[in-house]
């Protein structure tokens, strides 16, 4: 971000001083209005900067200065050698990375965008992707779905990006996917966890580079049975929208499959208003129900509020909490994360794969900490998978053409059955263009991380990708009900 030496404008009161890790100089907490690696052309950078200012509200206020670079861009699109000319190497690759920069998921999104920028800068230092330098911009995913779609169209038709990477929200990726096919634009989804993405319709230009929510959910059932073999009763608290509903459906089906005698306490399966952050009534209910396990897919800021309020109630001493997206709390609540919560970061957790044995993870952790002075939580790893996958797919497609530049269709084809190594471990993109990776769960221990102070995860278990992901083409719920089993 601001470390590129580009002009930046930062605003901010001195940070809280809450963290011992010296956040004073943390670029992530400042708002940077000018983005882009130093290798980019001036027009692209200034254009992106204008957009960044306008994006958080989703409105673009026409600025006379923004028109000039736009004209330059339009003019340059007519020059041979720019992206789009098949077979010929483009002069640059334009990538848009989309994630939340405002709203409750802003921290979540910023972490991912930071990781993407870090990686693309490194690619550029090593010659780019397929020998072509990359320019990238960060785009805000916040706002109503129609606005997200409009922004996507603008990126493709006006700014003529070569690929769009991103989308955290399930609602957004489901809305963007058909538009990607309509506009014939390669779109790599990095987090969006709904299994409906590839199950409800075949996609031509959409790829997902990580496991979807199914692996979190079925692995959470496996982990629940593993840490509580005599598990009898289950309660839940999930956001009352698609993500919460899907997560609970998948988890409850998986648990019923591997432990049919488990009792789901129907009147303690709670559905608070999404993102509300005030859980007094729900916590009372959970406390009174005394379940062995409480399942939750709350995430981001309201999940932190839930943890804090549940801790004050002493809930963690009474029931085992199982969080399918809990890992971000290690960054946000850090040393105050209570002991004894079971959680995952979908496929990986900072120390899994073990950085002592996995060179890629070791390097990523070191680079990310050096640049942003905090730990990378799972959105960062998801973005790395998507960006790395894109690089490998382009280069695989080039190799197949003896070094000629591939078309988008060829890149999508190269994604199919692509296996590649990332800091999160091996990723497999299936023939259905969906990502598969291992699942991991652990429990917060009383032991703090020596460097960052968050409680490290104990009792870590991992499951291979094949055990927690349905095979390509399978219907997820059917797969859980019929084939899914304890490995």
């Amino acid at each position: 971000m601001s470390t590129h030496g580009k002009p930046t404008r930062t605003f901010g009161l001195p940070p809280s001083g809450r963290s011992e890790s010296g956040r004073q100089g943390d670029p992530a907490r400042r708002l940077t209005l000018v983005e882009g690696p130093s290798t980019t052309g001036v027009e692209w950078v200034s254009f992106a900067a204008d957009k960044e200012r306008a994006m958080p509200n989703g409105h673009r206020f026409p600025n006379p200065l923004s028109i000039l670079p736009a004209l330059v861009l339009v003019a340059s699109a007519c020059v041979p050698g720019t992206p789009g000319a098949a077979g010929q190497k483009p002069s640059e690759l334009k990538i848009a990375m989309v994630d939340f920069m405002s709203g409750g998921a802003a921290k979540f999104g910023t972490v991912a965008l930071n990781a993407g920028a870090l990686l693309l800068d490194q690619f550029n230092e090593q010659g780019g992707i397929g020998g072509v330098k990359v320019t990238y911009q960060k785009v805000n995913e916040d706002g109503p779905v129609d606005q997200v779609v409009t922004n996507y169209r603008r990126l493709v038709t006006d700014e003529k990006v070569d690929a769009v990477i991103g989308y955290t929200s399930s609602a957004n990726c489901l809305a963007v996917a058909p538009i990607a096919d309509e506009l014939k634009k390669l779109t790599v989804i990095h987090i969006c966890g709904t299994y409906h993405l590839f199950e409800d319709a075949p996609r031509k230009y959409v790829v997902r580079a990580s496991s979807h929510g199914v692996s979190d959910s079925v692995a959470s059932a496996l982990y629940a049975v593993s840490i509580k073999p005599d598990l009898k009763t289950v309660a839940a608290i999930n956001d009352d929208y698609a993500w919460g509903r899907d997560s609970w459906e998948l988890f409850s089906h998986a648990l019923k499959k591997i432990k049919p005698d488990v009792q789901i306490l129907d009147d303690a399966v709670l559905w608070p208003k999404a993102f509300i952050g005030e859980y007094s009534a729900e916590l009372t209910k959970l406390e009174a129900a005394k379940p062995d396990i409480i399942h939750t897919s709350l995430w981001g800021g309201h999940m932190d509020s839930f943890i804090k309020q549940a801790q004050a109630r002493g809930l963690f001493q009474k029931s085992q909490l199982l969080m399918t997206t809990g890992e971000t709390a290690l960054l946000t609540i850090s040393k105050d994360v209570p002991q004894g919560i079971a959680m995952t970061g979908r496929g990986q957790y900072m120390y899994v794969p073990n950085p002592e044995q996995n060179e890629q993870n070791k390097k990523f952790l070191a680079d990310y900490e050096a640049k942003y002075n905090e730990i990378p939580v799972y959105p960062a790893y998801r973005m790395v998978q998507a960006v790395t996958g894109y690089k490998y797919a382009v280069e695989k497609a080039m190799k197949a053409k003896n070094g000629a530049w591939p078309s988008q269709e060829e890149v999508v084809a190269a994604f199919k059955d692509l296996d590649f190594e990332t800091p999160s471990g091996p990723i497999k993109i299936t023939s259905a263009q969906d990502g598969n990776q291992q699942a991991v769960y652990g429990i917060t221990a009383g032991r703090p991380d020596p460097k960052f102070g968050f409680p490290v995860l104990d009792k870590i278990q991992t499951w291979p990708a094949s055990a927690v992901n349905p095979p390509p083409g399978a219907k997820t719920l059917e797969w859980i009900d019929t084939q899914f089993k304890q490995p």
Partner: protein, 304 residues
């Protein structure tokens, strides 16, 4: 029996939260006929300021290296909220809202919505996107056991704060000269002006009072969770539901609306958790069908 106690307790706890976030909204509407969407932002600013001050003054929590005794954090939250309200409220009113005062409710609605969006970004510019967890005042007090359920003591104090806020509004309106002037201005703005009341100043004061309520509410609710970008949005939607049920412009209406919603939601969570969210808006729809202006709407509005 225990069930009933639990429902009533939970209902009242949630009701006090709702009342704190909606009292200022309804008060400003009652006096100025402005549906202030930016109310949520004032709540957010109060929450951020409160959380930021607590983290700043007590960096290590209750046992940390704070210079002041941790008990003072409650006073800091209160003063922080008042400060935000007193500074930002009059500024918004003088610089923006006053200029469209005569152009009807729709224009002021759009203007305050614009301010809401701008302030969302202002908060991001000032505090970044990192969540602020300033739970020291919340955790410090510990918890008590009521009817077999553990409640954080801080949360049990929220109804007290809500009652104090309600009492304060009542006192200002009914027992002070300023309150009499407000009532006069509400009853007839032009006659009041003709009698020598400085109506614009009354508006500024009234707006500041509403802003203080929102910001103090935000500051006191902040320690209960994570202060993140976007908290203003969640609040404003619920506040609108509560004030619509109670009748826009009526502070007692907001109190009754908050208690109704709080209790109903507590019953739903205990009995039919599927309808947790549904009941709030079902109640709103039902009341609007029977009394389109809300429970205390209509002529009552003018008395606040």
């Amino acid at each position: 029996m225990d069930q009933i106690v639990i429902v009533i307790l939970n209902g009242l706890l949630f009701a006090s939260y709702l009342f704190l976030v909606s009292a200022g909204l309804t008060f400003i509407y009652g006096v100025m006929r402005i549906l202030n969407v930016a109310h949520g932002s004032l709540y957010g600013l109060g929450a951020y300021t409160g959380a930021w001050l607590v983290l700043r003054l007590w960096p290590g929590g209750a046992g940390g290296a704070g210079v002041l005794p941790p008990a003072l954090s409650y006073l800091v939250l209160l003063l922080g909220g008042i400060f935000v309200g007193v500074i930002v409220g009059p500024f918004l009113e003088r610089a923006f809202i006053r200029r469209v005062a005569d152009r009807g409710e729709v224009i002021s609605l759009i203007l305050t919505f614009a301010l809401f969006l701008i302030l969302e970004d202002v908060m991001k510019l000032i505090w970044g996107v990192d969540p602020y967890l300033a739970d020291m005042p919340y955790s410090m007090l510990g918890s008590i056991n009521l009817a077999g359920v553990t409640y954080p003591i801080y949360q049990c104090l929220l109804p007290v704060v809500a009652l104090l806020a309600a009492g304060w509004i009542w006192f200002v309106i009914n027992r002070t000269r300023f309150g009499k002037l407000i009532v006069a201005v509400i009853a007839d703005r032009e006659v009041s002006a003709a009698l020598g009341i400085n109506v614009p100043r009354i508006y500024t004061f009234a707006f500041a009072l509403g802003a203080v309520l929102a910001a103090v509410g935000g500051a006191f609710i902040a320690p209960m969770g994570s202060v993140v970008p976007g908290i203003s949005v969640e609040v404003i939607i619920l506040a609108f539901a509560v004030t619509t049920i109670g009748g826009l412009g009526s502070v007692p209406g907001a109190a009754i609306g908050a208690i109704l919603v709080g209790l109903l939601r507590a019953v739903a969570v205990q009995k039919w958790p599927e309808f947790d969210l549904f009941v709030v808006y079902a109640l709103m729809a039902l009341i609007l069908l029977i009394k389109p202006r809300g429970l205390f709407g209509g002529i009552e509005v003018r008395r606040i």
